[in-house]
């Protein structure tokens, strides 16, 4: 046939010709009738199909069409096209069949559209309207099921359910929580949850969970709400707060973790009512986690700071902006005059925009005249920035999030991805369950992803270097290294080899507790993969050997040629939404934006010229050093922008005392944080919903914040605060908008050289992006490392600084949980998040609990050499014998009162992951 000679221009595959409603359509073979109709611009109604996740089950029968010569109607979403097929999508027979389906659905579906949350965006309502069905010709049969109100965020009214199975599909196959499924049969079929009818929420980490089998293991991601075509699943918090046509939708970027998900803020009357998925979001599509979708109610919390506060007679009292800024300006200038520029310091924020971080580092350097500027990246990934810079030449995730799902092997270490980077965890799960990847998990804790692992290496906390050396020992001994890559792309291999050869699997097994045979197996799996992605997070960095650990990841990846290619790489997952950007912007004591060293005279001259002032050449102090210097009286004035060191720093008693000793402490934030409580002046900042700007996610993607509402009260975006303060202090700093600041960033920062607002669009840009024509960079080090050749750095194993002993026999390791973020400033103000996870828990192994006679839920005391806290015990196999875990979100039981301020000598990151504690029964 002639038509078959027409080929697709790109693929050269012969096209198929079909006729739809007398219109001829050419389409690739293997396409469905629905695809062909879409191509022809003919709309076929569907109810069960989800184009967002490419799911076409063909079960709802709404999409049926008539195919000439075919005895019965076929489901167009699954039926493939054939050459010469003649299709009718709206013949009488088809329309009658669809009408019958609708009328059957409407026998049970409540006809209460006037009060239904879904009114205006309900697929069933739209179709009933289109077909003109007022009521079912089959009569009515009410189901009278009770409404399920058991989840804090999701309202389930199964009377409205049309059993399309979309929610079950996304919960089981994408989110893989498997909280819901189909149960019962025939007319009684319903979407069940857990062992019954209540969705509830996962309770495995709450107290007494074993006695409560009523709840499902729902993680409250709300994916089901996003895909429900009717009003069966709705956002509880938005109930009665507005109709779809009343909302203004503003696409923006989530401000929780480093994933960088996009979503729509739904605005009515100047208020954020809810968050909805937007399938245009490049990182996440329609996927979101519980915090992103439901955890933004803090924006309108009544205790938001709405005016500046000045400490008068020991109390913080409301003041005008002018009064506050004048006072700040005067006091900082006095201190500068009396004690010099280096007695001042600024703490920037990984929660603020790139523009704000850039301005604050400019402010510190140009106005204060000091390089004492740092931010919380010091506490999470400074080891990554330092370590990967030495090995590769630049410290960032080498590859992209979307590549993870295609990696044949994933080595995951020191990252509880499911809880800390939930959307990236979906990619890992997809890799394993859909694409057959092998997952190796190296983690002392039994994290959720262990369920997906081919191999789990449970090493003793703090023995990462030994484990990496052991893996490399096996790879070299068995000749599995990538000889060509080593020769062409790297240097100092011999030095590495010499050190690594000492670490036989047997020796490493003794150090780490991982069986030698498992080390061998893991090494073979990783080394023989076509490409392998190494993913890590703070379990690697937050050690006194953090930089060593990071350089070890680089050694392993280079040894096997897993850098500079697709679906591979060394991939540190960054914690805060903009911790990557805050580093990129030079909110660090040793570099300007784009990692240009302050000690490099050329760089210094460039910035000095642009900013019109002399700039200091001495490397400044890091976060912990700033507080230590404050403790000693050497730092007298600190400007803190949206950070909370009084909760986040190690050895809190010391850090809090240091903050109290500072002569003049200024904090800008959205709430009165533990740090703001001790400040001399507090300035009201704004949330991400109230400002424009950009943030850079963990895969180096620069994306937009779009302002959705006006600042609350007298609050101001931080970029304006910094500008106004600079001007008060006599330095000309003025911009009309964040876009203008970005122009300055681009002009001074080669890796951001081509990143300007008009270019960001829906997908943003991944740096390096040196010029306006550059499309951005999906993966780094393709033909050449940033530093030229990749450098192998041989590393000997060193123990953590504080090991358990007779007095403090247990190891404490700290981290986050899914439902909270960092110091809890915003998540603990979110109603639903607190309902699910309301108190600090100490995770302890059943063995240790038994020995100490501790039962689940009992309040216990955890003490280290630096402090003690009381919290409930959670007895769980997740903790290994001898190891207890606490999150650092809860001020009432602040884990950081216990942690040690032992610093990594290179990156100065504190050792949050290992310190010695004892656990005491109280009653």
């Amino acid at each position: 046939m002639k038509a078959t000679e027409i080929k697709d221009k790109k693929t050269e595959i012969p096209m198929v010709q079909v006729t739809i409603n007398d219109q001829k359509v050419m389409i690739e073979p293997g396409s469905t009738i629905l695809d062909a109709a879409n191509k022809a611009g003919i709309k076929i109604p569907t109810l069960c199909a989800m184009s967002e996740i490419n799911h076409y089950p063909g079960s709802c029968r709404m999409c049926v069409v008539e195919v000439k010569g075919h005895p019965c109607l076929v489901a167009s979403c699954v039926y493939p096209v054939n050459e010469g097929m003649v299709i009718y999508t709206h013949s009488d027979r088809v329309v009658n069949a669809r009408r019958a389906v609708l009328e059957l659905l409407l026998t049970t579906h409540p006809l209460d559209c006037m009060t239904c949350e879904k009114n205006g965006e309900c697929d069933l309502q739209d179709l009933a309207y289109e077909f003109g069905i007022k009521e079912s010709g089959f009569g009515r049969k009410e189901r009278n099921l009770p409404i399920d109100n058991s989840n804090p965020f999701i309202l389930r009214d199964l009377n409205k359910c049309i059993l399309c199975r979309r929610c079950v599909e996304i919960c089981n196959e994408i989110q893989q929580s498997r909280a819901i499924g189909f149960g019962f049969r025939g007319t009684k079929t319903e979407v069940i949850a857990g062992l019954g009818h209540k969705l509830g929420h996962e309770t495995k980490m709450t107290i007494g969970s074993k006695d409560n089998p009523d709840y499902s293991n729902c993680v409250s991601c709300g994916q089901c709400v996003a895909v429900c075509p009717v009003g069966a699943l709705t956002d509880k918090a938005a109930e009665g707060k507005g109709r779809v046509w009343e909302f203004q939708k503003v696409h923006t970027t989530c401000n929780y973790c480093g994933c960088g998900c996009g979503f729509d803020l739904n605005i009515k009357d100047g208020k954020v009512v809810k968050v909805t998925s937007n399938s245009d979001s490049i990182v996440n599509g329609i996927n979101l986690c519980v915090k992103g979708r439901f955890g933004n109610d803090y924006i309108h919390k009544e205790d938001r700071l709405k005016t500046p506060l000045i400490r008068k007679n020991g109390k913080l009292e409301p003041a005008s902006w002018d009064e506050a800024l004048t006072l700040i300006s005067n006091r900082f200038q006095e201190i500068k005059k009396e004690s010099g520029s280096d007695s001042l310091a600024a703490l920037s924020s990984a929660k603020c925009t790139n523009e704000e971080n850039f301005l604050l580092m400019k402010f510190a350097r140009a106005v204060f005249g000091t390089n004492n500027v740092d931010h919380c990246a010091r506490l999470c990934h400074s080891a990554t920035v330092a370590g990967l810079a030495q090995s590769f030449g630049s410290g960032a995730m080498t590859n992209s999030i979307k590549e993870i799902a295609n990696a044949p092997v994933i080595y995951l270490t020191g990252s509880n991805t499911t809880e800390n980077h939930p959307i990236i965890a979906l990619e890992i799960k997809k890799a394993v369950t859909k694409n057959g990847a092998k997952l190796i998990v190296a983690d002392p804790r039994e994290i959720e992803l262990v369920k997906y692992a081919t191999l789990w290496l449970r090493h003793r906390p703090g023995t990462d270097v030994a484990l990496f050396n052991g893996l490399m020992n096996v790879i070299i001994m068995e000749g599995l290294e990538d000889k060509e890559f080593i020769k062409e792309r790297t240097e100092d291999y011999e030095k590495l080899r010499e050190v690594v050869l000492k670490y036989t699997p047997e020796i490493v097994a003794k150090i780490t507790g991982v069986p030698a045979e498992d080390i061998r197996k893991a090494a073979r799996i990783y080394a023989s993969a076509e490409s392998a992605s190494l993913i890590y997070s703070m379990g690697i960095t937050q050690h006194s050997t953090g930089t060593d650990n990071v350089m070890s990841t680089a050694n392993l990846a280079m040894l096997t040629g897993n850098v500079g290619k697709e679906n591979a790489g060394v991939n540190p997952l960054r914690g805060q939404s903009n911790v990557q950007g805050a580093c990129d912007m030079g909110a660090l004591p040793n570099v300007y934006s784009g990692y240009q060293a302050v000690t490099d005279p050329q760089a210094r001259e460039k910035f000095s010229k642009a900013w019109g002032v002399e700039l200091p050449d001495k490397i400044g102090l890091t976060v912990v050093e700033i507080l230590n210097a404050a403790y000693d009286g050497k730092i007298r004035g600190i400007f803190v922008m949206a950070e909370n060191p009084a909760m986040s720093d190690p050895d809190l008693a010391h850090a809090r005392e240091a903050l109290k000793r500072v002569d003049f402490l200024v904090v800008s934030d959205i709430f009165l944080t533990e740090t703001a409580e001790v400040a001399d002046v507090v300035l009201p900042g704004v949330t991400f919903a109230e400002k424009d700007g950009t943030i850079t996610n963990t895969e180096r993607r620069v994306q937009r914040f779009h302002k959705a509402i006006e600042p609350l009260g007298e609050a101001k975006p931080e970029w304006q605060i910094i500008c106004e303060l600079a001007q008060k202090m006599g330095y000309q700093m003025s911009y009309n908008s964040p876009a203008e600041i970005m122009e300055e960033i681009a002009s001074l920062t080669p890796i951001y050289g081509g990143i300007l607002y008009p270019r960001l669009g829906k997908e943003g840009l991944q740096w390096p992006c040196p010029n306006m024509e550059h499309p951005g960079t999906r993966f780094l080090h393709k033909d050449k490392f940033s530093r030229g050749k990749g450098k192998f750095i041989p590393i000997e194993f060193k123990e953590a600084v504080e090991l358990p002993d007779e007095e403090y026999p247990l190891i404490l390791t700290t981290g986050r949980v899914l439902y909270h973020f960092h110091t809890g400033t915003v998540t603990r103000r979110s109603k639903g998040l607190n309902e699910i996870y309301k108190e600090a828990l100490v995770e302890i192994s059943p063995q240790d609990a038994q020995e100490l006679n501790i039962t689940d839920g009992e309040i216990i005391e955890v003490a280290s050499r630096r402090g003690k806290v009381r919290a409930k015990a959670k007895v769980t196999e997740k903790s290994d014998e001898g190891v207890v875990f606490m999150s650092f979100h809860f001020h009432e039981a602040a884990a950081n009162l216990l942690t040690i301020a032992a610093l990594d000598p290179i990156s100065k990151i504190p050792e949050y992951k290992v310190c010695a504690v004892k656990v005491k029964k109280i009653s």
């Binding site: 929580s177 498997r178 909280a179 819901i180 499924g181 189909f182 149960g183 019962f184 049969r185 069940i192 949850a193 857990g194 062992l195 019954g196 089998p213 009523d214 499902s216 293991n217 369920k451």
Partner: protein, 165 residues
């Protein structure tokens, strides 16, 4: 027919039953689609499938409880409530119905204090209904376990029930 084959395991303690079920799951873990045989085994051990047993199965098989519950509720063979030592099935077929099956059923419900689908507190009887056993000549009939009792009146029931302890 009594559709639930209750295998008596009164000699085993609950702990031993869980142990046996755990062993069965471990022996067959690698096989795909093994949930139904596991549920069958569990029901034969415990008599029915309470939530705790379903949760145990889900945990041991590394699958979700909703998957287990979905299968359990799909097949009428699987019981989520305890089943009595004896199952009474009242025929509600046409012949029995016109000859007073409804009255028989009401009398049974009254005497036992339970409704259809329920079990007496002492776990002696479970009450059920079916449509026609093919014994229309003896209508109205009931079955207790494998025995058919015909030409019934409510007054005969006490004597019949007495035989089943």
């Amino acid at each position: 027919m009594n559709e639930t084959t209750v295998i008596k395991n009164e000699e085993l303690t609950a702990e031993e039953k869980y142990q046996e079920l755990g062993n069965f799951i471990r022996e067959n873990r690698e096989k795909r689609g093994y949930l139904i045989p596991v549920l069958y085994k569990a029901q034969s051990l415990f008599g029915y499938l309470p939530k705790e047993v379903q949760k145990f199965i889900a945990d041991e098989m590394n699958i979700s409880v909703s998957e287990v519950f979905g299968v359990v509720t799909f097949y009428s063979y699987f019981k989520t409530q305890p089943v009595g030592r004896h199952t009474i099935t009242v025929c509600m077929g046409t012949a029995c119905y016109v000859r007073g099956a409804k009255k028989i059923l009401e009398a049974l419900e009254d005497k036992l204090g339970i409704k259809i689908g329920e079990t007496t507190e002492d776990l002696r009887f479970t009450l059920g209904e079916q449509r026609c056993f093919g014994s229309c000549g003896m209508a109205p009939v009931i079955m207790i376990d494998q025995d058919v009792h015909g030409r019934l009146t409510a007054s005969k029931l006490d004597a019949i029930l007495e035989k089943y302890k």
